[in-house]
Amino acid sequence: MKETPLSTCERTALTDMVECGLRHDRRGFLEARDTTISFGREYGSCSVILGETRVLAQVTCEVVEPRASRPSEGKLSIAVHLSPMAAPHLEPGGGGGSEVDALQQVLERNIKESRCLDLESLCIRAEESVWQLRVDITVLNHDGNLCDASNMAAVAALRHFHRPDVLVEEDGRVTVLSHATSPPVPTFMRKVPVCVSYALVCPQEDKCLVLMDPTHVEERVMTGKLVAGLNPHGDITSLVFPGRVALKKEQIMKCLEHAFRRAKIIAEMVQQAVEDDLQTRATEDRPSGFRDKLVSDEEYKRQRFTHLMATKVLTLPTESTEAAVPMEEEPSAPEEQDPANETTTNVTATSTNGLVDTPDDLEESRTTAVIASVTKTCKNKKKKVKKTKDVKMESDSEEEQQQTLLTSQDLQ
């Protein structure tokens, strides 16, 4: 089935919203969706839920002959399966086309080529038998940002995986022992590779907004993307920016800086999830598996709604500020300086400051925004664009001021 094309109306609505500093699911530009990592009954089966994207990774192992060129190293293979299960427009048969190719390349670079998994520990007898680990990643529901989700699932599954112990007899025969007779051996992973994707949306020429963790709709309207594979130790394992947009170097470096901050959070989350599960597994005699952990889309939406109600809308004092609050990025600074230029700076500020914001900063700015009670940014958009040209010079200098202000905030 062909994917239903987005109407021009939907398309422009989405890009205009982004231009105003608002995302269709009310997230901040650099805010990720809720992430849940859960494990199945077996070792090495892991499901990651990222918003409405669900990915399942399963690690399996078998004893094989090593490659002649590397006789004392185990093998690791990663395969991604994208079927119509994930989204109706995907082709059956698992061929997948360019999306799967790109995904697989990123995963191989992050997990295999970065050598975060010690392949030599998978050796049983050099030149004769080694373990082969296969990671099969199945996308269950495709709602954008498959790279992050499948990378996270694959890494969590590999860390969680325990292979059975082996017995090597004198004549070189290898017997695989069952889990019941001898305790399984954990895989040894030195680092936690993380993947962070950004969508680049360019509503006008030479202006580029950066959104983290794009949903499927955002991926369809975005102009370009940047996928960074890294680990919290400071290594960049892969970096893919396949064009379509022209970026300045500073923008890329800012993205990377943010990606490293994000990588730290994700790596900790993955490690924690794996450890917790292994601990509960040791005490429990029959792990419950996925059954209780999977959440339906409907339920997820309801949870998200109640969460939004609890955190954003209900705490606000008046009705009028309600709409304005989530879309303001950093409005407080310019208003206090010069109320006349308020509208122009709001438009331009998002483009430059989108990257500097961390969720904490956002919270701060939101509270200040409530005090200043700014409204109606979206409605006046067209006016603002015109104004922007007139006051371009002034707003430029103001941007600089803002940026210095922001960095000082960051430091605090």
Binding site: D101, A102, E113, L226, I236, T237, L239, A246, K249, F260
Partner: protein, 240 residues
């Protein structure tokens, strides 16, 4: 084996910040609208451009912009080992990326509802294949007369024991990372970035800067070639 000798020279006598010799030619064939050949050291690439022409499959047609497609393939004997399949996952991913680069560089709104096809054939690979492909495609597009925002030049850089090296060959690139940058040299903006193998964040900026500087050098080279080609053509035409 030492990649950089104690005197600071590489195996082929270059300094770490020196490009390999670039040789290129515009216009080899009559059939395609544009064609070019480039040699960057031992990496040899042939590119042909068809279009702007009618869109082949109607469901891809975009009435606002043109469709850009790229197909890259390697001949069987291009590397050290015989290539079994000319179009594997890696080349498909690369062709996708090359198409992406030119999505940012071609004035797409000038060719609504039409299609531009770029075919790239790698004759010999010795490091920096992606950048050679991008450079060859740029020349072929210029030869075809397709409107570009700017030249697109591309260059790779690698790192060896804390020293960033420009335009690494296969052997030099084996140990370190490979960062490929494609640049619009006159605008100074990056249209594609690709990094494989691990590089540390502290070194990354240096490698990227070196690759960007390399792109500017490549630009000088390509520009002089195009200029020479045009003068040549123009001389013939005025002679008639």
């Amino acid at each position: 084996m030492e990649i950089i000798s104690p005197e600071g020279l590489r195996q082929d006598g270059r300094t770490p910040t020196c490009l390999r010799i670039i040789k290129c030619r515009l216009g080899l064939y009559d059939r395609p609208n544009g064609s070019a050949y480039i040699e960057m050291g031992n990496t040899k690439v042939l590119a042909a451009v068809y279009g702007p022409r009618e869109v082949r499959s109607k469901n891809k047609q975009n009435l606002d912009e043109c469709v850009i497609q790229c197909e890259m393939s390697r001949i069987a004997a291009c590397g050290g080992e015989r290539v079994r399949r000319a179009r594997d996952k890696r080349t498909r991913a690369l062709s996708h990326q090359i198409a992406g680069v030119f999505h940012a560089a071609i004035r797409k709104s000038k060719y609504p509802g039409s299609q531009i096809d770029i075919y790239v054939q790698v004759l010999q690979e010795d490091g920096g294949v992606m950048s050679a492909c991008v450079n060859a495609s740029t020349l072929a597009l210029i030869h075809a007369g397709v409107e570009l925002l700017d030249y697109v030049t591309s260059c790779t850089a690698s790192i060896n024991k804390q020293t960033a090296i420009l335009d690494a060959t296969n052997m030099e690139g084996q140990a370190g990372c490979e960062v490929t940058v494609s640049l619009l040299p006159n605008k100074g903006s990056i249209v594609s970035l690709d990094s494989s193998h691990t590089v540390h964040r502290d070194q990354f900026e240096a490698v990227m800067d070196l690759a960007t500087a390399g792109c500017q050098q490549v630009y000088q080279e390509l520009f002089s070639q195009v200029e020479a080609y045009l003068q040549d053509k123009h001389a013939i035409m005025s002679h008639r």
